[in-house]
């Protein structure tokens, strides 16, 4: 997507936005079917690449089509930016729900009717373009992209990718939530994003909106890095901050990048490219940090849990039996935070001993929760730092009125 966005926008200028969007949506839908049918990771990746090209064509061309629908370029840029921000926040939640309720393939299958429905109104424009073939030559010239706004977009997108990717992983791999439960939890972010979009008309200055958004995203990520307990409730305030911040900063930076520049599709293409490059860079930077940390924390948590068992007053033979079962669970779930409950089954018949074992299970689980949560702290902090660093290009960018 990062590589295809600008060439797709150029194609939209050359062939006409209606035709490009229609072809893009058709390619997107067809490649979506190929994704769902793919039997191996390599074919899935290949189909996703094709889908990205189709998606890039449809998204960038739509920016050229929007002014006629919403009444002006400024309004079109705002709607387009808001749609992008909402989509970024909604994606993981919808994906998680579909994966858990149906299958991972369903994520791609539902895209097909969605793309076809979107193509219906575009077909009339495409037919008109085919009949008239009017493309004004002066509009083919493109100005330079807004470097600072696009740089800030890339940095903020890296931070947001961290928030979404790491939080979903924390919930599923760390706290052992089902994908649907995790999806329900991260739904708070798009809901906050939708609420945050209502603040946009209240602040005319795009630079202030961008700065406030970047600060909120970083503040939310800072909160996620400092979770004082492994409780879903405590993820909600940081998610609200990230969601509101996301709506403010992505919208403001996209508006700034597009402001006063023509043609819109090309500059929209640059913003798409910057955002997706940011996501890729964010994941490349954060994944090794997080994987190294989770391995260390898992080890520390198991040791801390074993210490709890060894220092407990339960029967020594029962302790060793528990230590063995914990060891076996570690082997079975190598590389993951183990689910420790089965290691304590069956519970002893003796009432007093059962209470002691149940208490041990709780304490060991607490250590594992601590380890799993702490494993994500550095990555969340790093993502927060990237978000804060985006304030530098935001501060340097001159306000550009549309």
């Amino acid at each position: 997507m990062a590589l295809a966005a600008v060439p797709a926008a150029l194609a939209a200028r050359r062939l006409g936005p209606g035709r490009t969007a229609a072809v893009g949506l058709a390619v997107f839908a067809g490649a979506g079917l190929a994704c769902a049918a793919s039997a191996s990771l390599s074919t899935l990746i290949a189909a996703r690449c094709v889908q990205a090209i189709g998606g890039a064509a449809a998204v960038t061309a739509s920016l050229e089509l929007l002014p006629a629908t919403v009444g002006g370029e400024r309004r079109a840029a705002a709607v387009w930016a808001a749609a992008g921000a909402t989509g970024a926040a909604l994606g993981p939640a919808i994906g998680g729900i579909l994966t858990d309720l149906v299958s991972w393939q369903s994520i791609f299958i539902v895209q097909v009717p969605a793309a076809l429905v979107a193509a219906v109104p575009i077909l009339a424009v495409a037919r008109h373009e085919a009949a008239t073939g009017i493309i004004e030559p002066e509009l083919r010239r493109t100005g330079r992209p807004h470097l600072l706004a696009n740089l800030a977009l890339a940095m903020v997108s890296a931070a947001i990718a961290g928030a979404l990717f790491l939080l979903v992983l924390l919930l599923i791999e760390g706290w052992r939530l089902s994908p649907i439960a995790a999806a329900a939890v991260v739904t708070v972010m798009p809901l906050a994003s939708l609420a945050g979009a209502r603040l946009v008309p209240l602040v005319a200055d795009t630079k202030s909106r961008a700065a406030a958004g970047a600060i909120l995203v970083s503040g939310g990520l800072g909160g996620l890095a400092l979770l004082p307990k492994a409780t879903i409730l405590l993820t909600l305030p940081p998610q609200i901050l990230v969601g509101v911040g996301l709506a403010l900063v992505l919208g403001a930076l996209t508006e700034t990048a597009l402001g006063g520049r023509a043609p819109q599709a090309i500059h929209g293409g640059w913003t798409i490219s910057a955002r997706h490059a940011g996501v890729v860079i964010g994941l490349l930077a954060l994944t090794p940090v997080f994987t190294a940390d989770i391995d260390q924390q898992r080890h520390d948590a198991i040791n801390a849990g074993t210490a709890v068992i060894l220092d407990s007053p339960v029967n020594p033979l029962l302790k060793i039996d528990l230590a063995q079962k914990v060891s076996d669970r570690m082997e079975e779930e190598r590389g993951k935070v183990p689910t420790i409950g089965p290691a304590f089954e069956p519970l002893p018949d003796d009432e007093g001993e059962r209470r002691e074992v149940e208490q041990l299970r709780g304490e060991l689980q607490d250590q594992l929760d601590r380890g799993a949560t702490h494993a994500f702290s550095t990555s969340f902090l790093l993502a927060a730092l990237i978000g804060l660093l985006a304030l530098i290009p935001i501060g340097l960018a001159r306000r550009v009125e549309l």
Binding site: L202, S208, I215, G223, K229, L310, P316, Q324, Q367, R370
Partner: protein, 187 residues
């Protein structure tokens, strides 16, 4: 200030300050609630002494004896007490441990015996074991096979409850009518 459509606008600077305050409040609240220390508890260095906490009765003494023995053996091997405890749980876990840390049976045996000797020292120091029993126990433990030594680390009750059997001829003193002496040796 009113914007287009009569919407009351917020000044950009105030908006940024508001975002900053919200972020700082959240981070500050989570820090105050212990967010920076929510991590697994650190395990103790096995080479450092672990004080016995007022042991009473065979069960408690056996518990602390096992802990001391594990500490001593783990210190000798350069691993944590917890890693060693999991390793000693079964032959399969012992084999995994040997492969991972490159520790053969001879080295493990030596470390386990060193651990048991440290446990006797600790028990003696804590007043949980009479010096009269500690001396012959040390001599006995230096000679016992690895599997038996591991069983003693796992459950020292078998050692402390059957001192007579472990001490050989000297253990005869604890049998029969003299068995009551054990009460004095194991408080």
């Amino acid at each position: 200030m009113s914007g287009p459509g009569g919407i009351r606008e917020i000044r950009g600077g105030a908006f940024v300050v508001g975002a900053l305050v919200l972020s700082l409040v959240l981070v500050g609240a989570y820090l105050a609630a212990g967010g920076s220390s929510y991590a697994p508890e650190k395990t103790q260095d096995p080479c450092k002494p672990r004080p016995w906490s007022n042991p009473r009765g065979l069960g408690e003494i056996a518990n602390q004896f096992s802990t001391s023995a594990l500490d001593g053996a783990a210190c000798k091997l350069g691993v944590t007490r917890e890693t060693l405890a999991r390793a000693l749980a079964s032959p399969a876990s012992r084999e995994r441990f040997s492969r991972r840390y490159g520790i053969d049976d001879a080295k493990l045996s030596e470390a386990i015996r060193a651990g048991l000797l440290r446990a006797i020292d600790d028990a003696e120091e804590a007043g949980a074991l009479s010096p009269l029993l500690a001396v012959p126990l040390r001599t006995t433990l230096r000679r016992i096979p690895l599997d038996q030594a591991i069983e003693l680390v796992k459950d020292a009750r078998s050692l402390l409850g059957n001192l007579g059997r472990y001490l050989g001829p000297a253990g005869g003193l604890l049998e029969g009518p003299a068995g009551g002496l054990l009460e004095g040796f194991l408080p």
